[in-house]
């Protein structure tokens, strides 16, 4: 016992390595760097000494050929691992590394660089397969979380407005609370899935995979950082609003969550070569859709048992649903024209076919909404209509949720490339 006590005192009194395992501090070439000429070596610098494995650094070209030699730690500084590379031609290169740190943890990571060409995004590193079914499902769940959170907040502030009965307030906080907590979890899973695809590691090795290049130098990583921090703040605001009963706190939570929706557009695969206007249109499309769908879900599940409130809420929601749907359609049409260079892309390429199915579902949802607006609304006072309305709203919301699933797949897909103009046409155009 005394010996253990002495060991504790010694260990706590004198400093040693405290960080759990080696952290990559610098690389040469830098992550994502475009080089004018081939480097002679690839060099990694860690914050503590490491042991180089036989595959400590492997450099691959775009076709997966190994273009590096045997790695070794630098004489005199075992924090630095170096590998010689062959003379590299023009193109993008992927560096995969694995080292053992002092605490025996094997750290692994990946990054890219380019020689006389732009470096490929890390998510497109050699070996990455791109978004799969699990990523589509996760992105869909993210859309649903946004609908519950942003749509729920919008419904409370723009439709219900003033004070409401305590049980309605409780249901509102439950719906939006589930939305924000789920957004934090789903955001983390989405980030990990994208990183896991690029790192190409088995689960146990992935636990020690270095995620910092993804968080700091990719668009989806930056979106992840902003959205996690933002949603944590929204969660705190939502909690404080519930605790203190101050509805004013819901406004910053609403505006912040509305703005954070843009992170999904910026992190999408198809935002690679877009300007600010298509990205803005994408955000308008997504925000209007989440407000609309979140409003429908709130109508169905937040005010469902308060007949008078539901009647009032239905009238007010139908007033703002029209402009929201108009925004969804206008932004959607604009993006369709931007992304599909030719009309026949709609039925000749996979992206277009998916878009057609989505448009079909949008038409169904719009017809359902029009039925509510023109047929149900004037008859709201009839008892039979009141009983049927909740089921009908849940039905319309289900169609909208299906639309979100297709939107999730579209966001992760690449639209067809624009065909370059034939040489003669290009020459004529330049003469004019």
């Amino acid at each position: 016992m005394k010996r253990l006590g002495a060991v504790m005192v010694v260990l706590l009194a004198f400093p040693a390595t405290a960080s759990a395992h080696a952290t990559l501090e610098q690389t040469s070439p830098k992550i994502g760097q475009r080089l004018a000429a081939s480097p002679r070596v690839v060099r990694l610098e860690f914050d503590q000494s490491v042991r180089a494995l036989s595959n400590a650094i492997q450099v691959f070209d775009a076709r997966g050929r190994l273009v590096s030699g045997a790695p070794h730690t630098l004489a005199g500084d075992s924090r630095v691992v170096v590998v010689p590379v062959y003379r590299l031609g023009r193109g993008g290169y992927t560096v995969r590394w694995a080292t053992i740190s002092n605490d025996s943890h094997v750290g692994r990571g990946v990054f890219t660089f380019g020689v006389r060409a732009a470096a490929p995004p890390i998510s497109d590193a050699y070996g990455a397969t791109g978004p799969g079914t699990s990523e589509h499902v996760v992105r869909w769940l993210y859309f649903l979380c946004l609908a519950l959170l942003t749509g729920g907040l919008g419904f409370r502030l723009l439709v219900l407005r003033g004070p409401v009965a305590p049980d309605v307030e409780r249901r509102f906080y439950r719906v939006t609370g589930i939305g924000v907590v789920a957004a934090l979890q789903v955001g983390t899973i989405a980030f990990l899935l994208r990183a896991e695809d690029a790192l190409q590691l088995p689960f146990t090795a992935f636990l020690y995979g270095d995620l910092s290049p993804f968080a700091s130098s990719t668009r989806f990583g930056k979106a992840f950082v902003a959205m996690e921090l933002g949603f944590a703040f929204v969660a705190a605001l939502l909690f404080l609003a519930w605790l203190t009963g101050r509805r004013l706190l819901l406004w910053p939570a609403f505006l912040l969550s509305l703005g954070l929706g843009s992170g999904l557009s910026l992190s999408s695969h198809q935002s690679d070569d877009r300007g600010w206007l298509p990205s803005f249109a994408d955000w308008v499309h997504l925000s209007a859709a989440t407000l609309w769908i979140g409003g429908l879900l709130s109508l169905a599940f937040v005010v469902w048992n308060d007949r008078e409130l539901r009647r009032r809420a239905f009238w007010r929601f139908s007033e703002i649903a029209g402009p929201l749907v108009a925004l969804v359609v206008a932004a959607g049409v604009y993006m369709t024209f931007k992304r599909l260079p030719a009309l026949d892309d709609l039925w000749s390429v996979g992206y277009g076919k998916l878009l057609l199915v989505k448009l079909g579902l949008v038409c169904l949802a719009l017809s359902w909404g029009a039925f509510h607006h023109f047929v149900v609304r004037p008859r709201l006072d009839r008892p039979a209509v009141a009983g049927f309305l909740t089921r009908s709203l849940a039905g319309e919301a289900s169609v909208a949720v299906a639309i979100l699933l297709l939107a999730a797949i579209l966001v992760d897909s690449k639209p067809p490339e624009k065909q370059p103009a034939p040489p003669q046409a290009a020459a004529l155009a330049s003469r004019r």
């Binding site: 060991v7 504790m8 260990l11 706590l12 004198f14 400093p15 040693a16 390595t17 405290a18 960080s19 759990a20 395992h21 952290t23 990559l24 914050d47 503590q48 000494s49 500084d77 075992s78 924090r79 002092n102 605490d103 025996s104 943890h105 750290g107 934090l184 983390t188 990990l192 990183a195 992935f206 636990l207 020690y208 995979g209 270095d210 995620l211 910092s212 993804f214 968080a215 992840f224 950082v225 996690e228 921090l229 944590a232 703040f233 969660a235 705190a236 909690f239 519930w242 605790l243």
Partner: protein, 194 residues
């Protein structure tokens, strides 16, 4: 530009020390005396909640391994939950006393996260030792807030609860790689570089 990990540990250690001292003061003078001024009741749960919120930046900016990111995420969430549950109970917004179990749950989850994300035995290195101490202190120490949830006036449970947090704070202060006072002594850590 990130601060060194140990600086972040020290900042949180300061937060935990303050939290532990507030709890200790409440345990010593008794709940009735402590709450003679109503705002005092909100002090430590608010601090717990704020520490949870502050853990999110650590989660997203220290991403040098997946398991560390997930551990920080779990700490952020359970601290927010524990603080929020206590605030809800004090304000009367929550009435079910089972919400008091949020604190022992937070201790247990945090302790498990410390132990799961440390792959080495106790005396392998300083970091391994710190992780094991924190992990087991929180796991075993969860018994104190658990007891306090059912016997809120127990001096033993309330004092033990406070001292567990103080112990975690001291252990976190001991987490250092390059300390300005002691210098960089470990030969295995290579040349001093910060």
């Amino acid at each position: 530009m990130q601060p060194p990990a140990e600086h972040v540990h020290w900042l949180f250690a300061t937060g935990f020390l303050l939290l532990g001292l507030l709890l200790l003061a409440e345990a010593i003078v008794g709940r009735e005396v402590w709450r003679l001024r109503p705002w005092r009741a909100y002090l430590w749960p608010s601090l717990f909640f704020a520490l949870g919120v502050l853990m999110w930046p650590v989660m997203v900016f220290f991403t040098n391994s997946t398991i560390h990111m997930l551990a920080h995420s779990s700490w952020a969430q359970v601290m927010m939950l524990a603080g929020a549950a206590e605030l809800g109970l004090i304000s009367g917004k929550l009435r079910n006393e089972l919400w008091r179990l949020a604190v022992p749950l937070a201790f247990a989850v945090s302790g498990a996260a410390f132990l799961i994300h440390e792959a080495n035995p106790w005396l392998y290195s300083r970091s391994a030792f710190v992780h094991h101490v924190c992990g087991w202190t929180l796991l075993v120490g969860a018994l104190f807030p658990l007891g306090a949830a059912f016997k809120p006036r127990s001096l033993v449970f309330n004092t033990g609860y406070a001292l567990v947090i103080v112990a975690v704070a001291i252990t976190l202060y001991a987490s250092r790689d390059v300390a300005p006072v002691f210098g960089h002594l470990s030969p295995s850590a290579g040349v001093a570089h910060r």
